[in-house]
Every structure is written in structure tokens, then in C-alpha cells.
Amino acid sequence: MKASDTATASLDARAVREQFPIFRAERAKPLRYLDSAATSQKPDAVIEAMDRYYGTINANIHRGIYRIAEEATAAYEDARRRLADFIGARSPRELIFTSNSTAAINLVAYAWGRSQLEAGDAIVLTVMEHHANLVPWQILAAERDVELRFIPITGSGELDLAALPTLLADGRVKLVGAVHISNVLGTVNPIAEIARQAHAAGARMLVDASQSVPHCPVDVQALGCDFFAFTGHKMLGPTGIGGLWARRELLEAMPPFMGGGEMIREVKLTGSKWNELPWKFEAGTMPIAEAIGLGAAVDYLRSLGMERVFAHDRELVAYAMERLREVPGLTLLGPSEDKRGGVIAFTLDGIHPHDVATVLDDDGVAVRAGHHCAMPLHEALGVPASARASFHCYSLPEEVDALVAGLHRARKVFAR
């Protein structure tokens, strides 16, 4: 099969699903897992890669002279290379392993933010940020007397880019931070355009790619960003591992975030010299098995083809939106299907999202209910909470059917 054929043939989600042990496990009611935006399930390939590390080459990396230590180091660095290549990095040195997106953004806020920002500077974020790309900047803003500004959203749940030139106009903005795909609305944001305007105004661009790297092809060069944060557990990999990509010259100029072993070249009692990239930012023993597992997740996603994974997400979300519109009293949040990824949040008249989720759970349907770590967004939308269904490569249309059936049931339970 030629590459072009691979890109057009659609994903066989049923065959994919067979490769995920959680769906093969015996249970009283079949699992209808519609919470992949919170965390994805893990294929055999990822679990086996981690088992292989622990079972055959478990040793600390970058230190041991013996064979398995060298093999462990090679496997860890090989995972980095594959991940760097996956997101379009020019060099694996630009890819720092972190524990997740939150840790990656905090790394930028501490190491870059505290060395670059001073009183009177400003940071532009968006109203639809996950708390992970909001709270670290609030802490910095309070500490350094930096102003936070926000790109608002339109009625259809898209960023109101008409507001951006004004937000950037006074030249005080040093950083623009935006989520690539909203974890609530599913909106795919025009990062390249935002980055272009940020750069023209002399600001750096940070992208929270937690929901994009796992679901669609990404290329940090094409996006034109400077910092790019993502997490492994949403992309079929294990928890506890994620990454920060940043332009090499920025990383070179940044002071370390955490001090300790591995991040140093030379230590004297009164001072130290830092290690080179990327290890300058990887203090202490890293989650080695998790990094190797994430490397296996990248291989797995590549074997599926990210174009096809995204097409599958979008097919399902379009089907879900069509079916959800049949449910009386249901309000869909966010933009039309052509402008979103595989996430759909909604509210149901007179039934709190928690109650919706409880009724659905009774049918084995797992959805998220609450504010999804985006309280300011819910405030902007004028709803205290929402229910959310989200998909990945193993999601099936009948899971959407089960969701819709469960929602009709919830309406019945509460219609007394």
C-alpha cells in the first residue's frame, strides 16, 4: 500500500480496539469509554515496551558502564528521538522530558518567565485555557507584577481573534499562550496565525498541545511557536511522562528549573556548571520506563497514521453531534463539527452534569462531568458545569449510541 493510500483509507477502529487490553477485560457491562480527553487507554505495545524495560534492561541511564545501563540509555534516548521527530523538532536536543503538560508549562514559567519578565510586562492567554496554562502564569504575574490579558471567545466557542491586535498593541506583551485544541469545546485554534501576530509584536508563543499531539498531525515548525507542551498519557502512553519542545536558542539561554543529579556537568561545593541540552532540564532519575512506553506509543500512533486518527475523531464527533441534537433539552457547547477535534461537551436542561454522568455510568458509559479544569471558560459560557464525551482511535459509533440512549434514560429518570 502506498503512503497516499494509507492516508485516505479510514481507520479500522474495531481492529485497533482489539489491541487494547482494557477492552478485552471481562466485565459485567461492556466498557463504553468516552473520556479519552482526560486520559487515553493504552495498547499492548506500550505496556509490553515498559515490561520489556523492567524485565530485561532495568538500569539507571547516563551513568552505568555496564551493558544493560547502556541499553536502557539507548532506549530512553531513542524514545526522545522518535518523539522529537513526531512533532517536527529540528533536533532531539530541543525535546525535554517532563512529567506532563503542566510540568512543561511550569518549567517555562519558572526558567524562562522568571528570567525574562519584569514588572509592567504582559502575558496574553485565552479564556478557553485549561488551568495548566493559566495558574502557572497567575503565580508568576502576582510575583513579578506582570499583567495577564485574555483573548475572549465568540458565541460559537472560537477565539475572537479580532481582539488580538488591541491586546498586543502597547508592545508590553512578552508571551502569548494558547491551547491548540480546547479540552472542552474541541475548538481547533489557529495557532500559526496567533504566533505570527505574537512575533510581530515581539512576543514569544507558547502552545498547550495536550489535546492536539495525541489526535492530529502536528509540526512545531509549521505552527511557528516557541514553546510547545504536551503529555504522554493522553496519546496512548503512560502517565508521568510528557514533553516540552522549545527553540534551541531559548533553551540554551534559560537557567535550569530544578537542580540535582544529571542536570550538571561539574559540581563543586560552592557552584556548578550546567549540563548541555536537553539534560540541563532533566534533574534526577527520570521516568525511564514511561519515556520508553511513550516512544512505543509514538510508533503505534504512526502505524495508524495521524491523519487517519484525526479523521476518525472528526467522523465520530460529527456523528455524535448529529445524534445528540435528537435529545430534547440538550445544548451542545462549542463550534460546528468542521472546526473541532474529537471532543463534545453539552448540558441537559434540568439535569446536572453529575447526575447525567451517574445515570450513564449505570450503563457502563464513562463520560466526564464538571468544569474539566477550565472554570473561567465555563463562566464565559454561562454554565456552572458540563458533561463531556471524547474519543480516540478505539472509539466506536455504538459507544455514541449508548451515550444517546443513556441521555434519554436520564431524562426519563428526572421527568417526574
Binding site: H352, D355, V359, D361
Partner: protein, 139 residues
Amino acid sequence: MSGASGGGMDDLYREHILDHYQHPRNRGTLERPYITYEDTNPLCGDRIRMDLNVRDGKIDAVRFSGTGCSISQAAASMLCEAIEGKTLDEAKKISRDDMLELLGIELGPVRLKCGLLALKTLKAGAYGMTQWPGEDEDA
């Protein structure tokens, strides 16, 4: 307590829970409350405000307002009903077990917070109490 939804969905959404949720007693606010206090359940976004008027040590009016799931709102409605006309001392003695008995359903660890929010708000507002008498704060 067993699973997340206790004894299952049908047990959770019993008639009286839905009745209090859909036809809440004492919903609203008081104009010049003697005591007013608001608390939230940050996990779910449930929000409850309790307003009390007290005359001669007796709760002669109580109202609750806020948003949240059926369990949190029904619990607030039931609690209001239970304390109206009682003395502050009597209301003070209401324990979490009493509250759960009023609800009459089994709650898993997540929904327990919903079920106890109203009582927690009342206790914090009326007596500055942040934990249940004789128990850990693990509410």
C-alpha cells in the same frame, strides 16, 4: 460505602431525592439574614449558600440558594426542612450520619461531598465549625 454510586442508579435517584431536587423547600435568600454563608465543592462546582434568621436562640427562617447536582440540592432542601424551628444548639448537633440518614441513600466517596455540602456550609456559617464533631475533616 461501596462503589462510586453506592447502591446503583435506581437507589440513588429515589423518589424523595428527586422530589426535593425538583420542588425544593426553603429555596431562596433572606433579606437581612442573621447568618449567611456560602461554600463550594470545588471538584464538582456545586455551590450552596445558607441564610438563617435566629430569634431567641431559635432558627425562625432558613433559606438555601446555589447550583449543583440533585444530591447536593436535595440535601440542602432536606436540611432546611429539618432545622427550621429548631434551636441553634439542636441544629449544631446534627451529624454527618444524621444528614446521610435524611438523604436515605448510600453515597460513594465522590457523591458524599455533594450530599454533605449543605451541612458543611451550615456548620461553617453558624458555628465556624470546619469539621464534624468527633470526626476527621474528611468530609
